[in-house]
């Protein structure tokens, strides 16, 4: 008699999954290509910032889903990344990619500073201290403003504001949208690489129990710090992309309230799923733009987001992504004539 448990040890059929992911990727590429041609300028810009903010939301969901940490400072880190990207781009005239990398690395360093207290704090106090740091960064940004081509360390020009140079490959809005979509895909790849690899296993163990992780020889401090640095890097890249999209950044656009909003919408979108950050990015930018198209007050969006957060926390911890997945599962079960319990 053969041991049946071994035959079914793989929870999913790898061949099927590969095909599914290939189709998803192809559809995504097609959508990006068609969308960028079909959209008006206004919507193109909206989708550019939505894609950039999806990267920001990815950094929130990385900390929340992998380690269960609530960081309310990620949007402020977007501002930090944007600041350094602008500064490097204006000051050194380096290619866009290098400027974005510089922004990402600077934000990762700031993320480390935010994360250092996290080694001793968890839960509520971590949320509060990151909120306070977001506030402090907001004060710094609104006091210094963003560099716009001037001289000096701060790079503030007194005359005309210089726009950030876009990447060589993507000068037009259409091309830049595709460019941002590619960077978004690369960021997803980076996170996937971590989650599937050694760090992901370590994070999962830390999340489950720090005592077990310690007993299992996991370097808790290193992996927590690494998670914060990676999340900061993602946020910084997102900030650089935002800066490239508009050409400059507004000093008042990175308040602590936006960090709260980003966290809230990541929860609403679904922090545990790959779809969540995309949904969060769309809700942050495309939903208010849609309301604007219909001449509805933008404050309605804030009310909807607040209600969505309460709803997500109380009844749908997996967020919209989880509800979508449940719905497709139910539909599939209905069409194939099997019960919902079938895989």
């Amino acid at each position: 008699m053969t041991d049946e448990t071994l035959t079914y040890s793989l929870p999913v059929d790898t061949r099927k999954v590969r095909l599914k992911w290939l189709v998803t990727a192809l559809v995504a590429v097609g959508a990006v290509y068609v969308l960028s041609d079909a959209m008006s300028n206004y919507w193109l810009r909206t989708f550019i910032s939505a894609a950039a903010l999806a990267i920001g939301s990815l950094s929130v969901s990385l900390l929340f889903a992998q380690l269960g940490m609530v960081s309310l400072a990620q949007f402020a880190l977007l501002g930090v990344g944007g600041w350094f990207a602008l500064r490097v781009s204006h000051g050194l005239g380096v290619p866009f990619e290098l400027a974005i990398l510089a922004g990402g690395i600077a934000a990762a360093a700031f993320g480390l500073i935010v994360g250092l207290p996290a080694l001793r704090m968890r839960g509520l106090y971590l949320a509060i201290i990151t909120l306070m740091m977001a506030g402090a960064i907001q004060v710094l940004i609104s006091a210094f403003g963003f560099p716009d081509g001037g001289a000096g360390i701060l790079g503030k020009s007194s005359g005309a504001r210089v726009m950030m140079a876009r990447p060589f490959l993507a000068q037009t809005d259409e091309a830049y949208f595709r460019y941002v979509a590619v960077v978004l895909a690369l960021c997803y790849g980076l996170v996937l690489l971590h989650v599937r690899g050694r760090p992901g296993r370590a994070w999962a163990m830390i999340r489950r129990s720090e005592v077990c992780a310690l007993a299992g020889g996991v370097h808790i401090v290193a992996y927590k710090v690494w998670a914060f640095a990676l999340a900061g890097f993602l946020a910084g890249v997102a900030g650089g992309l935002l800066a490239g999209g508009v050409g400059q950044l507004d000093g008042s656009a990175f308040p602590a309230s936006q960090s709260i909003m980003l966290f809230a919408l990541t929860i609403v979108g679904g922090a545990y799923s790959w779809m969540g950050p995309l949904i969060a990015g769309l809700m942050l930018r495309a939903f208010p733009a849609l309301l604007n198209d219909f001449h509805v007050d933008g404050n309605i969006a804030t009310i909807v987001f607040g209600a969505g957060l309460l709803h997500a926390l109380m009844t749908a911890p997996q967020g919209i992504a989880g509800q979508l997945q449940d719905a497709t599962k139910a539909l599939r079960a209905k069409f194939s004539g099997k019960s919902g319990a079938a895989r």
Partner: protein, 287 residues
């Protein structure tokens, strides 16, 4: 050297509103385990409602009372209807849920009243008296007196009354208290009422002392949270000291040349330093 006295007085008044708000946060956290990030938004709503009633020609005492009544009943409603649904989730998730409330209130206020520059005028603004060479408006004196009074009253209530005893028991151990017959929902409800009323009073005063803006008043919760952090969400005297220190430092930095523009960072610096100081000894939490 600039004259710091006027800044000290105005700082003390602002600090009093922080203290009112922070005392509400601490009482609520002790009784129900919820850190209420919507404390500032509730106060802002109270201020807007008072402003609207006065603007329509209503009598002022009625307007203030209505504002505080609305913030109190909203806090009670949330505490009774929605908060218990999260009773078994993480403390941090219960706190994040109040961020949802703050967002809803922020949206409603933006929709109804907008972000026009406004100020709530209290009749006590025109009354003033001199003390050690500084003119003090009655509003500021009232704010200070209210902060002292409410802190003392809340402390006496917690120490002396049966309900206060139940709240302290809940703060100590929720499950054991429930087992011993402490009416959890009832004590929670009263805690929400106290914190909602304090939020309303604080919001109305702050709308007079600074300005009536949904964003500003909603995020006035940050200094209050900082003060509560200094009190470790449990000690009322330490919270009061923290609130006063934050408000006064913020105001005293105004005339200082170089660091003046950064004075809004005072609450963050206080909170971060307090948190780091509290966590200076590495403790390993077994879980």
């Amino acid at each position: 050297m600039p004259d710091f006295m006027p800044f000290f007085v105005s700082g003390l008044a602002t600090a009093s509103t922080y203290v009112l708000s922070a005392v509400g946060i601490v009482v609520l956290y002790r009784a129900s385990g919820v850190v209420n990030f919507s404390q500032g938004a509730l106060g802002a709503l109270a201020a807007f409602i008072s402003w609207s009633i006065v603007e329509r020609g209503g009598p002022e005492p009625v307007a203030w009372f209505a504002g505080v009544l609305v913030s109190t009943s909203l806090a009670f409603l949330y505490g009774r209807a929605l908060a218990p649904r999260l009773a078994f989730s993480d403390p941090v998730m219960r706190a994040v849920a109040t961020l949802g409330v703050a967002l809803i209130l922020l949206g409603v206020m933006g929709y109804v009243w907008g972000e026009l520059p406004r100020r709530l005028r209290l009749p006590t603004d025109t009354m003033s008296f001199e003390l050690i060479g500084v003119r003090i408006t009655a509003t500021r004196a009232i704010a200070f007196a209210l902060a002292v009074l409410s802190t003392v009253a809340v402390m006496a209530f917690l120490a002396g009354s049966r309900l206060g005893l139940q709240m302290r028991a809940l703060a100590n151990n929720r499950d054991l208290s429930a087992l011993l017959g402490v009416p959890v929902l009832r004590a929670d409800g009263y805690a929400w009422i106290i914190s909602g009323a304090l939020a309303g009073v604080s919001g109305i005063l702050l709308a007079d002392l600074q300005r009536l803006s949904g964003q500003t008043l909603t995020f006035a919760v940050i200094p209050a949270i900082s003060a509560a952090v200094i009190g470790r969400f449990s000690s009322l005297p330490a919270t009061v000291v923290g609130g006063v220190a934050i408000g006064v430092c913020e105001a005293l930095l105004t005339p200082v040349p170089v660091i003046g523009p950064f004075r809004t960072a005072v609450p963050f610096v206080f909170a971060v330093v307090a948190l780091l100081w509290m966590q200076r000894k590495s403790t390993f939490v077994y879980r």
